[in-house]
Subunit: 355 residues, 2 copies
């Protein structure tokens, strides 16, 4: 088992990464909690809920299972989970355990952040994508108008990453997770980026996966420790997300994985970064790698005006002006305001280049 | 104009108290906000919204008016306000202005705390009661099962208390506000408590009112500065609230003012404190003062078992055991776990003593 530590304004929390950690949950989680509510989505519950409950070896453990998919991350489910927490008799010394991918972590985390004005929660991520979302304390639900618009900062008490769960991931979830790794690599350093471009997602072993996840978490942790509340450099983690979030919302949450949408956004941000800063970000290689690994990139039918309207609602926007994260080179992110007409030109050109 | 300063983990914020401050809002509020959303309830909007907008002298000011009364502090209204904030084009550098009593402050504050993971908000309290709720950063909405069960800690950027607004208060709102002042006096010091017991609520002048509000805010500020997240002594501010909240929920939000419910709870907490700690808290005088000032105390028909069920859902409960704040003497609060059977006895006796 590997252990990383992440500093937040509220605490310093450990991130445990390893194989078969669920049988050890009782040792990893303090025994001072009066009760525990496990929140899991259906897919993950079928596979791991029993193992988690066995591993906890506690009485006073409650559970609630929600439908899988991003569509559950809404205000109605948020309120239902508050009701479940009340009915289960949770108090301020209770714990919420988020068992699942980023959707469950964000939703359960926001419930924990706001139940009786905030109780502890522990993340048990079960996807590669969640290496990103489980660290950094961002929790939220979606609004019809945009992703993660309602939320707060609430650092987890612990993150326990049992990578045995990653074996059950469908292909699109592996793609989804690697899109965030690509992003982290691009904003951080060339070697990391190059190694991903040489990786075949159909042929990954445990060792590689652990190494990549640790690398990704380290990039993320360094940034959130320096700027927890996203007043400055934390914005860089949004590379690829301005268009990614807009695409995700436009298609309808759950129609495409978060990472697949981010991959498309990353490709776009890379495309215009090269044009604006006259740099070489290996757009061609990146496009090829996404295609080889079957990322969905064929969005020619999407209405660009509607996409731009959604991009305006991005949380980085200031007075409705779109701000994108771009790269001056690999490892050198920056933010840039882009006029609407300019953006439309870039999008049209980009779509043509994708063919 | 008087100025107090309150320290939170997020900031140090000024509390301005004085007469006719709305014409000076442009000077009191920084001009760096990209836009402002004023949230006001109907009653207050009719009286003061125009004055506030005039005083702001800004462009990009939006407004939303919600129905008056505690019943608005629910999840549906919370989501509607998020929608309004999005539609108005608010961004992370925007401001929410809460114009009204505690209900508006709690609700608008919780919207601000969670809109795009937190933006600034400024409190413009318009009731005496709100001297308590506008300071300390507690924001929340109600759940059907209990008051303020969903919320967070989000300190205001500024509190601007224009006491000219207090002149329009109906009698029951004056009673409501003074119930929290009684509570603050009792947990703090004897002289403050005695002076209130000698005050006739039908005959208050500006000077007295400002002096009382300042005293109340000072008691509150000292406590929240020492224990913002209510890990210890902040609980003492809940004197009278365990039964108060339960009564408020049992009658249905809006059927009785918050302070009137707290007055009843304070009377009960005082009654059993005298019995348990064998001290003199002037229960008789307090009862008489509440009666003289027309506080509603006639709750003989209420089902005590249901009240107790609601008291169990209090946020101070630990593993469903009721914890009440009691007084060993004036100025010496403490918390005490009380068994259900014991509580029922106390309640029955108390009801008899009220006659």
């Amino acid at each position: 088992m590997d252990t990383l530590h992440v500093k937040s304004s509220q605490n310093v929390y450990p991130v445990y990464i390893g194989r078969d950690l669920y049988p050890k949950l009782n040792e990893l989680i303090p025994d001072t909690y009066t009760s525990i509510l496990i929140i899991a989505d259906q897919t993950v519950a079928d596979l791991y809920l029993g193992k988690v409950i066995n591993g906890l070896k506690r009485s006073n453990v409650h559970q609630v299972i929600i439908p899988s998919g991003e569509a559950s991350k809404n205000i109605k489910m948020f309120y239902e989970l508050q009701t479940k927490a009340i009915e289960a008799g949770l108090d301020r010394n209770s714990l919420i355990l988020a068992l699942g991918g980023g959707m469950v972590g964000d939703l359960a985390g926001f419930v924990a952040a706001t139940f009786m004005r905030g109780i502890d929660f522990i993340q048990l991520p079960t996807t590669i994508l969640a290496h990103d979302s489980s660290v950094g304390g961002k929790v939220a639900i979606n609004h019809e108008a945009g992703k993660n618009l309602i939320g707060s900062f609430h650092a987890p008490a612990i993150v326990i990453y049992d990578i045995a769960t990653l074996q059950s991931l469908p292909k699109k979830e592996i793609r989804s997770g690697f899109a965030e790794l690509v992003k982290e690599a691009m904003i951080d350093n060339t070697a990391f980026y190059k190694s991903i471009l040489q990786t075949d997602l159909d042929d990954l072993n445990d060792q590689q996966l652990i190494a990549y996840i640790k690398k990704g978490i380290k990039v993320k942790a360094a940034i959130v420790e320096a700027d927890e509340k996203e007043l400055g450099i934390r914005k860089y983690l949004n590379y690829g997300h301005t268009l990614g979030h807009a695409l995700e919302a436009e298609l309808g949450y759950g129609q495409i994985t978060h990472g697949e949408a981010v991959a498309f956004g990353t490709l776009f941000a890379t495309n215009i970064s090269e044009k604006i800063y006259d740099c070489d970000l290996k757009f061609g290689q990146l496009f090829k790698w996404f295609k080889t690994n079957a990322y969905p990139l064929d969005w020619q039918h999407i209405n660009l005006h509607r996409l731009i309207e959604r991009m305006k609602m991005d949380k980085k926007s200031v007075a409705r002006h779109i701000q994108m994260v771009l790269l001056k080179e690999i490892g050198s992110p920056t933010t840039k305001k882009i006029r609407e007409s300019e953006l439309l030109d870039f999008l049209e050109q980009f779509m043509k280049e994708l063919g």
